[in-house]
């Protein structure tokens, strides 16, 4: 970091209108205030309002007044089996998808670092999937997974394997979603790991080489500790994205078959808009918000420790 960036930098007060001088004096607040006010309005206010909604029973009819139910909606979380299924599905998805993406991304980066470092064009081509609209990715995989004329079953056939319903099969649906997500987001891990590897200092490796350390030892004792901050950021961002998974599920499975892919975002959407139970949907949302805050604070603390 630049130490000079922290140094106070002030201009002497010059003649001018009173308003101008006042603005100049309070510049550090005036430049920050709009953003803070907008974000207060768009994130803090909704959170508080949602807490207010969560302690009410809200009728879909706007003329019916809200009915105070206290912690009722939160207590429902304990007994609602659908919610438990959604929580489990989100956890399974997050852990499997992020682990697969991380290991693949790191492995590819370690293997290919030397070869792609100068090939910017090739690197950018490999990065395309993560930039694409998730809806476009979802329909692309929907066409590939299609049981009757989909390309994947054609490949299975050529390999002498039985055709599958993929996203339509209860035991394969979650796997199908994970594969599509891995396709889209492994490039992200790969790119961040490459950036991490490119920033490694050379000297410790030369010293280790002189000491005759094996490449395995070098990997664990040098590469992993140096990469830790980048790994932490990459995992944090991916976990937060995986927790909010919606688009892929909405298009590929709609939460089915048999609720096998019903994730938290989709369940909240269904409770709020199909069952029109806004109070309960707010309670689930607050639970998700709580989990997000706990996880991201934990990650960010560790991140700062690592630096």
């Amino acid at each position: 970091m630049f130490t000079s960036a922290n140094a106070p930098l002030t201009a002497p007060v010059r003649p001018g209108g009173t308003l101008e001088r006042w603005a100049e004096r309070h510049l550090r607040i005036l430049m920050l205030a709009p953003t803070m006010l907008i974000l207060l309005g768009l994130t803090i206010f909704p959170s508080i309002y949602m807490f207010y909604a969560a302690v009410h029973k809200i009728s879909p009819n706007p003329d019916v007044p809200w009915d105070f139910v206290g912690p009722g909606n939160f207590l429902r979380l304990l007994s609602d089996q659908q919610f438990h299924v959604a929580l489990l599905n989100t956890s399974v998805f997050t852990v499997s998808a992020v682990t697969a993406e991380f290991l693949l991304g790191l492995g590819l980066a370690l293997l290919l670092d030397k070869y792609v470092r100068r090939l910017t064009f090739l690197k950018t081509v490999l990065m395309i999937p993560m930039m694409l609209p998730p809806i476009a990715v979802a329909i692309t995989w929907k066409i590939i997974y299609e049981p009757q004329f989909g390309v994947l079953n054609e490949i299975m056939f050529r390999l002498g394997l039985p055709a599958q319903a993929w996203a339509g099969d209860a035991s394969l649906a979650m796997f199908s979603i994970i594969v599509a997500d891995v396709w889209q987001w492994t490039p992200f891990m790969f790119l961040l790991m490459l950036a991490g590897l490119a920033s490694l200092p050379v000297e410790p490796y030369e010293a280790a080489e002189l000491d005759g350390a094996s490449s395995w030892r070098q990997f664990w004792d040098l590469t992993v500790p140096f990469l830790k901050p980048v790994i932490a950021i990459a995992l944090l961002l991916r976990v937060m994205d995986a927790l909010r998974l919606f688009d892929l599920v909405f298009i590929l499975t709609g939460g089915g078959p048999a609720d096998r892919t019903k994730v938290l975002s989709l369940y909240i959407y269904q409770v709020a808009y199909r069952f029109a139970d806004i109070g309960y949907a707010a309670a689930i949302s607050l639970f998700v918000l709580f989990v997000t805050i706990v996880l991201s604070t934990w990650f960010m603390k560790r991140m700062r420790l690592a630096e």
């Binding site: 630049f2 768009l42 909704p46 690197k123 930039m131 054609e154 937060m240 688009d247």
Partner: protein
């Protein structure tokens, strides 16, 4: 002498082997990455009968623009694309103006206590908030102000995640600029605000451009908030239009392929424009690639 040569020969074999497997991996990764994109493009140029063909038509032997006509002429996908574009421009403009000022403030000014750090992390944490969480209050809010199904509502909603992004990105770009240039401008008689406007801002132009493109991409791709806020083609964005053609009874494969492929084209162009900034953009300015 002999042994040294054998060892060298052996390590050469090993090097060749690693090199070959690296090239093979790059090839496999390229095929795995590009095939789905190729496939949606190919399907968008096929007649229905060729889309449903078993075994599949690997190349569109009988190319047609039928589905492009269906989607963009007969159905309102051009309208959806225009909505997406206008919303993306609006939210990018708002996020960039306020995010640049806030990013500059957080990069340059000192605040009492630990406020600089605290505020930075608070802004970052608003970016982490899942959209489904804020959607219920936003929906009630837009409903109250009669703003449902408008593009302005989408711009407001998208600003919630684009503004923290722009702030962090610009903060990271400003931190990379040497502060001495602004100091010199102030010594030469410029005001503090003038130093920002005339010195720092022009120097941060590449960063501004990259941040703008990322904001455009993020809004262009957004689906969930638009799904809930919009109802008709008046405000519906491209992803909503595409999802609307996947119904319980029928999926319009050709149409969604054409529209889906068209939704990807500007993104791919943007990806090549911002390739140097990808790492920084994707890590919210935390990793400088």
């Amino acid at each position: 002498m002999m042994t040294a040569m054998t060892i060298r020969a052996r390590s050469r074999t090993r090097e060749v082997f690693i090199r070959l497997s690296a090239y093979l991996t790059i090839f496999v990764a390229l095929v795995f990455t590009l095939f789905p994109i190729y496939w949606i493009a190919a399907n968008s140029f096929k007649f229905d009968i060729d889309i449903f063909a078993v075994p599949p038509e690997w190349l569109p032997w009988h190319p047609t623009l039928k589905h492009y006509d269906e989607a963009f002429i007969q159905r309102p996908f051009l309208r959806y694309a225009l909505n997406s574009f206008l919303v993306a421009m609006g939210t990018t403009a708002v996020s960039l103006v306020f995010g640049t000022m806030a990013g500059y403030a957080l990069a340059r000014f000192s605040y009492p206590w630990q406020w600089r750090k605290q505020i930075s992390f608070w802004i970052l944490s608003t970016r982490m908030m899942p959209p489904i969480v804020s959607i219920i209050p936003l929906y009630l809010f837009f409903n109250y102000f009669d703003m449902l199904n408008t593009k302005s509502a989408l711009i407001v909603a998208y600003t919630a995640f684009n503004l923290p992004f722009a702030t962090w990105m610009m903060k990271s770009y400003f931190q990379d600029l040497p502060v001495e240039l602004e100091e010199a401008a102030i010594v030469d008689g410029d005001t503090r605000w003038g130093a920002f406007l005339h010195v720092a801002l022009p120097l941060a132009r590449p960063g501004l451009a990259a941040t703008a493109i990322f904001c455009l991409i993020i809004s262009w791709n957004e689906f969930l908030l638009s799904l809930i806020i919009t109802l008709t083609e008046q405000a519906q964005t491209l992803p909503i239009g595409i999802a609307g053609r996947v119904t319980q009874y029928k999926t319009y494969w050709g149409e969604i392929s054409a529209a889906g492929f068209m939704a990807c084209v500007p993104i791919v162009i943007f990806a090549f424009i911002v390739q140097k900034h990808l790492v920084r953009g994707l890590s919210l300015g935390a990793v400088k690639g």
